[in-house]
């Protein structure tokens, strides 16, 4: 197998050999939005259904999660262990990936290395075509959404069928997921009924919007699909370097169907998902369900190690995906973003996410983790508004089961974002003034006089219009503190 640009090594890039690690390519996949976060957020904020669903879902899951976390006296130590395991993994990722490759190969699997989304899509499409299948069933997977695999398969004449219920709703609705774990969080059941009636093959036209009826309709459709489709595509939550075992955790059991029924199983996995040993799962399988769905244990944990003759898929492939991860790994202040186990706790506690939902982030990775991961995968200029999509309230850091310091990373990435020229000038002028106390005191007095001369707290000029659109400014005080102190 060929290995070229992993792990911070210089590699080929558009326009010749680059000095920087390669970021995720443009024009493929779903890591970049069409508009800036503030513009997209403005639309989302005006959607009452979305606001209600988000507030309800995030509040419910926060409560559930807090209850089961409170049951564990060693939760903070578990978080420390998770964090330490991830730090250790990132520090020796090259050797662990090679160990994983050897173990998977020894167990009868085939390992492929994909530098970026295009290469990964090509590998998977070729593998599917080689089987002669014109349809694949899919286990819910972030990595395949990141690279736009469904679109690539369709172009290759292969129909991908999402089998996670919420993901199926999104796919049939020709929509985009808005939450890592609950991709259809923005839909209500009336909308889901309409989507099923419109797009689900063979659906009963008398379908109602009862949740049980909707679930039964999906089950009927999916069961039939499971039995007739010989190829499945999945992601992986974990890959154990020591044994070559891949693991998927899920709630519905549909993933289990995909992982066991077909003859060919192709798994696309970001290189950061590797863990050193089997025993490490002991930590992560406690952290993940409690932080994500608020369950003590997730209903289905599927693990497979290469091929077991006569049992389960007989052709097992693993596609290891970089797509900008080496670039993330190369930045010591940013690489913690690769520790993420995609539990979505940070989304559920984020006051920004709770109001805007996932679409506003423009990437398959929404919420706080998306705001630090997407810009690093694409290069900050391609997602320049995301590091600012946070009030730095710190709730994400407290919630993260592997203690990713998202607020510090946001602040770090803001330094790499292109700044508006007027803002840069104002910031430089402010810093200059603030380093000169007498000039600073004079500026304070001048600002006070300007405010006194103007109208009270309304209609400030840009960029401060954003403030006065919804908030008054207080009346200027009679004197500054330092003037008061000086005459005391």
């Amino acid at each position: 197998m060929t290995r070229r640009t992993f792990l911070g090594m210089p590699g080929p890039r558009d326009g010749g050999p680059g000095e920087h690690p390669v970021t995720a390519p443009r024009g493929v996949g779903h890591l970049r939005g069409d508009e800036s976060f503030p513009a997209a957020a403005r639309k989302a904020l005006a959607d009452p259904q979305l606001r209600r669903n988000l507030a309800h879902a995030t509040t419910t899951i926060r409560g559930k999660s807090a209850r089961v976390i409170a049951e564990l006296p060693d939760w903070q130590q578990l978080r420390d262990a998770g964090s330490a395991l991830k730090a250790d993994t990132m520090a020796r990722l090259p050797e662990l990936l090679e160990e994983l490759e050897a173990a998977v190969t020894a167990a009868g699997g085939v390992v492929h290395w994909a530098t970026d989304a295009n290469q990964a899509n090509r590998i998977v499409a070729d593998l599917v075509r080689a089987t002669g299948a014109d349809r694949v069933i899919k286990v819910k997977s972030m990595a395949t959404q990141e690279i736009g695999l469904n679109e690539a398969l369709q172009e290759a004449g292969v129909t991908p069928v999402e089998t996670d219920l919420a993901e199926l709703i999104v796919q049939l609705g020709d929509d985009r997921p808005s939450h890592i774990l609950v991709p259809a969080i923005h839909r209500n059941r009336a909308e889901i009924r309409e989507i099923f009636l419109r797009a689900m093959p063979g659906v009963d036209p008398g379908l109602t919007d009862e949740p049980a009826v909707l679930a039964a309709a999906a089950r009927r459709y999916l069961r039939e699909t499971f039995l007739r489709t010989p190829v499945a595509v999945s992601g992986a939550n974990f890959a154990i370097a020591e044994t070559g075992t891949l693991a998927v955790v899920e709630s519905e059991g549909n993933g289990r169907m995909c992982l066991t029924l077909p003859d060919t199983l192709i798994t696309v996995m970001g290189i950061e998902k590797v863990v050193p040993t089997w025993q490490d799962l002991e930590v992560f399988l406690q952290l993940l369900p409690r932080s994500s769905t608020g369950e003590r244990m997730n209903p289905y944990t599927s693990m497979w190690t290469g091929v077991t003759p006569g049992d389960g898929p007989q052709n097992v492939h693993l596609v290891l995906l970089d797509n900008g991860r080496s670039a993330v790994l190369a930045d010591p202040a940013g690489r913690q973003a690769l520790h993420c186990i995609r539990c979505s706790a940070c989304l559920n506690v984020c006051p920004v996410y709770e109001r805007t939902g996932g679409h506003a982030y423009g990437s398959v990775y929404p919420g706080p983790i998306g705001a630090v991961l997407s810009p690093q995968l694409t290069g900050v200029p391609d997602n320049a508004s995301l590091p600012y999509a946070s009030s730095l309230c710190g709730a994400c850091y407290d919630a993260c089961p592997v203690r990713i310091d998202i607020p510090s990373m946001l602040v770090h990435l803001r330094n790499q974002a292109p700044h508006p020229r007027t803002e840069s000038a104002a910031m430089a002028a402010a810093a200059y003034t603030m380093d000169r106390p007498r000039l600073y005191a004079a500026a304070q007095r001048a600002a006070r006089l300007t405010r006194l001369a103007g109208r009270r707290g309304r209609g400030l000029p840009p960029p401060l219009t954003g403030w006065t659109a919804s908030r008054d400014l207080p009346d200027p005080p009679p004197e500054t503190f330092r003037d008061w102190w000086a005459r005391r």
Binding site: F37, P38, A41, R42, L45, P351, V352, R355, T356, P387, Y388, A389, S390, S391, L392, C393, G394, A395, Y397, D398, S408, V411, L413, R414, N415, Q416, A417, H419, E423, S424, M427, A428, A430, A431, M434, D435, P437, Y440, Q444, A447, G457, P463, L464, G466, W467, A469, S470, R471, D472, L473, P474, P476, P477, E479, T480, F481, R482, W484, W485, A486
Partner: protein, 245 residues
């Protein structure tokens, strides 16, 4: 005790009453307050907006200004948070390890007001009198960066005449977030609206907090909607006495 006041640029310029109250309160408790006039701004706005390089001279100035004092107090959880968790990092990133070490030193002696009162001075009853119905918003940086916990509430509970009502969803961000309030004004306003809804639900006359910045934001919204609810800095409540009325 001799205590240096780090007034913060916002309180100095826009909310001197909060800083004056800090001085009055500490003097009433028998301490000497000094105001090093060379101070300006801790640089938090620059750091948090992506202008870390511009903040280096401000960090240097802050560290130089306060290096000679045993105890520094600021009436702001957010600015103390920046001093404690960002200054050394900014200095180190700029390659100035000496400054980073000195910044760490100053940070270790810098306290937010409720920390100073409860942890350093060991008082909870500061002898205040404030006959109003009050709700307390914890502010994110006091809560999650400094971890001041219930110290402000313990101080408020001892204030005579004060009727303290619990704020629902208190730990939720008010939506200020520095330049976030301007760059993402719509989302910030949506967060503010929910915070105001909770404040109004308490029936309080006054919403208090340990940070003038969050109060400027919450108070600005409450004023715009003519709710009749005021925002008052924690220091002003703790400094209020019956004699002063």
């Amino acid at each position: 005790m001799r205590i240096a006041l780090f007034v913060t640029c916002l309180a100095d310029t826009m909310f001197p009453a909060a800083a004056q109250a800090t001085v009055r309160l500490l003097e009433r408790l028998g301490h000497e307050v000094v105001f090093p006039a060379e101070q300006t701004c801790c640089g938090q706005m620059h750091i948090n907006t992506g202008y870390q390089k511009d903040a280096v001279p401000l960090v240097r100035r802050h560290v130089r200004t306060f290096a000679g004092y045993d105890v520094v107090v600021a009436p702001s959880g957010s600015c103390v948070g920046s001093v404690r968790h960002q200054h050394a990092m900014v200095a180190a990133a700029a390659g100035d390890e000496g400054l980073a070490a000195r910044a760490g030193d100053v940070a270790a002696r810098t306290y937010e007001l409720s920390e100073l009162l409860v942890d350093v001075l060991g008082v909870e009853d500061v002898g205040a009198y404030y006959p109003h119905r009050v709700t307390y918003h914890p502010t994110c940086h006091s809560l999650r960066v400094l971890r001041v916990g219930d110290k402000p509430v313990r101080l408020l509970r001892r204030v005579r005449g004060l009727d303290l009502v619990e704020l629902p969803a208190a730990d939720q961000c008010c939506g200020f977030g520095g330049t976030f309030a301007v760059k993402n004004a719509d989302t910030s306003t949506a967060m503010l609206t929910d915070k105001m809804r909770h404040v109004l639900a308490t029936g309080a006359d006054v919403c208090t907090a340990g940070d003038a910045s969050c109060l400027m934001h919450i108070g600005g919204g409450l004023s715009r909607l003519h709710t009749g609810v005021r925002t008052v800095h924690l220091a002003e409540i703790l400094a209020a006495t019956e004699a002063a009325r």
